[in-house]
Assembly symmetry: C2
Homo-oligomer: 429 residues x 2
């Protein structure tokens, strides 16, 4: 936890702001919010939904689109839909639709499989590339690269998969706090797996400088964008990121378990040597040739037959982004989380919760994580009262702010209900 | 091609049967068909759909069920559905629903990921188990096992994935015709990847005896059931199969790209060492623990967050099997393919096509593959006239018979239209 700023939220509450004033401010902020109308693109009720960083809300037009995929594309066209309904090319077409949201040009992203499976593809490919020549052409020493550095506070699946990738490529895994990565790099480093935003604390890591440091050492950075894609600008192309994977069911609202995406930098695509070379990434998939010959481009990251229902629900969902710049989403996200913290400071007694999300904007993702000793029962009561966040063991209340459909009034209400619940639940068990 | 029986269909046409007689026979066979009413459970039109071995037809009740998953489970319950709608346990619950169709007890099958990804899991796990002790406890020699035998006529993705699994476990791949596997086994053999039914010829391989031979050699058999699951009884438990994977969008009608399944024999589950140890297979997935500790049972084959829309469409689809014994499906499948061959022999001039599917019942899956030099244009015209099969390069017309919704009248019409088309298209290009 050494790299996480811990801010007792009590500091601000020395000058308590009356609840009426905050509610009034929320109303004005919502009235002035250029993204406020985007909320109408979603199916929402009177719940304050602050769990979009776990499962994004349903875009209103998606049910009809999915019904068409099932009834007409599958039911009537059947096998013809692989061509006529564009099923076959969906993984790269949807990748191109995600691309502008993460700062990638077309042709860099392919969608399919789970995040875990994509982490495996990316890490193994990174190790293989590092051994070949290394990012800065440091050939010769490439063969000796036998270490994968992994964010020590990573979402666990990344660590499990990293250990498997290491075992299968003759590497060792070393857990390192992201801030300490530059000092941990060496001629042994093959790949570095980092989370852009920490799933628990909401801390945003410095992608440009860490990527540069990793690549300067001749290794490859693999970024997990699960908690940043759709929440803030990432600039994958601009910052020269080698490989990245991300989730589509959080801030991208693709639906439960919608497939993940894989980004491969353009100049590395011909060197991307997948550990899962399924027929969908073959240069001639219907040639049914016994020898594998990889296709060109990001679609080299494809494996087997894509799950069309989930993919096309995701594709439809992405239309909520029409006309929505990711920069505007980021600005609103910071304003929302600032305002939520202000409301918490005003409503919650000093010291009752501790914010583990950094106060600095450039260190903050799109969630607020509050530590409180009785977080489990507190979150249970919050949900019962219509404020849906989630609980992360052992003691974290996690509130995700999706600027597409969360407003300032929601933030004020969430803080107010939190204070009510905290007043009822004993502080220490 | 040496192991494929090639039967000039002309043989039977020496005693031509008049078309009227065959049409009449078809009518009687359909009237006597105990499974005829099952067709009403599907959305079908006046097309003769003989491509269910590529994409099964849509069960009629599935659109409403998918709509409920999208509108209510995702749209209204949102994150609560992971518990309340049973999303989290869907992979093993649906595995248990598939189990009786492939001869497995509950707790042996888990659903998720593509077939290719599951072949990778199974093959790597098989190699690791073989090195540990081997199937017959032949410890000591296990460490030297460095060869994976792969069906030489396999669907290509299995071969590509097998080579990757071999590369990552220090093995070599040797292509072997299934019939020659027993003679190719040695103390070097770690795993053998076999197709139960050949995707091109429709030939059924002898699962019980090949499994026994592989296991007697201390290696593990991995069966690809893509073209047999839902088409014929398999008896996985009965025959002691170690590991198997299968597709759910062919004879199981799960929808385009619906997730594959993985079978792990009960006594091997604690030794199943997955190369993709994602958080979904952790003993305590929400413990968020940095160390991986695999769950018990088949769910050890899970990886990342399951694609719920595709999974639950599959779950709904499986209800068409209510009250349908797989033995009855097999009996009808053989009767249908026999009758189709009889009609082809009666209608198509001698020597114009050659059947590459074995005539013997115990060597036949649920499809008929006819070789004809102009198969590409012939299939195009067949489809235009409402008989949908598919073309497999270079020269195979493939007709899949799904007994749940294909009738004898369909078989007769398909053969009749085939004869008409063949009369129009020049025989040799």
């Amino acid at each position: 936890m050494s790299e996480t700023s811990e801010n007792p939220v009590s500091e601000a509450s020395e000058n308590p702001v009356p609840g009426d004033a905050l509610a009034g401010r929320a109303e004005k902020l919502d009235a002035a919010d250029a993204l406020a109308a985007v909320r109408e693109r979603f199916v929402l009720d009177d719940v304050v939904y602050l769990d979009g960083n776990s499962l994004g809300a349903l875009p209103a037009h998606v049910p009809d689109r999915v019904a068409d995929v099932v009834r007409r594309q599958w039911g009537e066209l059947r096998i013809r839909s692989w061509d006529e309904s564009g099923w076959w090319t969906a993984p790269e077409r949807i990748g191109d639709r995600i691309a502008p949201l993460v700062g990638a040009a077309p042709g860099r992203i392919v969608v399919g499989d789970s995040t875990s499976v994509n982490v495996f593809k990316a890490l193994v490919a990174a190790v293989r590339m590092a051994r070949e020549t290394g990012e800065r052409g440091q050939g010769g020493e490439g063969a000796g690269r036998d270490e994968i550095l992994v964010d020590a506070t990573t979402f666990p699946t990344d660590g499990y998969i990293a250990r498997s990738a290491a075992r299968m490529t003759g590497c060792e895994v070393r857990p390192v706090a992201p801030a300490e990565v530059p000092g941990a790099l060496s001629g042994r480093t093959a790949a570095v797996l980092l989370n852009h935003v920490d799933y628990r604390t909401g801390r945003l890591h410095d992608l440009p400088s860490l990527t540069a440091a990793v690549h300067a050492a001749g290794a490859y950075a693999v970024w997990d964008l699960c908690h940043s894609a759709g929440a803030l600008p990432i600039g994958l192309d601009e910052h020269g990121v080698a490989l990245a994977v991300g989730c589509t069911y959080k801030y991208l609202n693709g639906g439960p378990g919608s497939p993940a995406f894989l980004y491969v930098r353009q100049d590395l695509q011909e060197r991307f040597d997948s550990p899962l070379p399924g027929w969908n990434s073959h240069a001639e998939p219907f040639g049914m040739r016994p020898e594998y010959e990889p296709a060109h481009g990001a679609l080299r990251g494809r494996v087997g037959t894509p799950d069309i229902l989930s993919l096309l629900a995701l594709e439809a969902s992405l239309e909520v982004w029409d006309g929505v710049p990711i920069e505007a989403v980021r600005a609103k996200s910071l304003a929302l989380t600032d305002f939520f913290l202000e409301c918490v400071a005003a409503y919650v007694p000093a010291g009752r919760v501790e914010c583990v999300t950094p106060a600095e904007h450039d260190l903050r993702g799109s969630q607020i994580a509050l530590r409180c000793p009785d977080a489990g029962p507190v979150m249970k009561r919050l949900i019962e009262r219509g404020v849906v966040g989630d609980f992360r063991r052992p003691d974290v209340l996690r509130f995700g702010f999706t600027p597409l459909y969360v407003g300032f009034g929601d933030a004020e209400r969430a803080a107010r209900v939190l204070a009510e619940v905290l007043a009822e639940v004993p502080g220490e068990e």
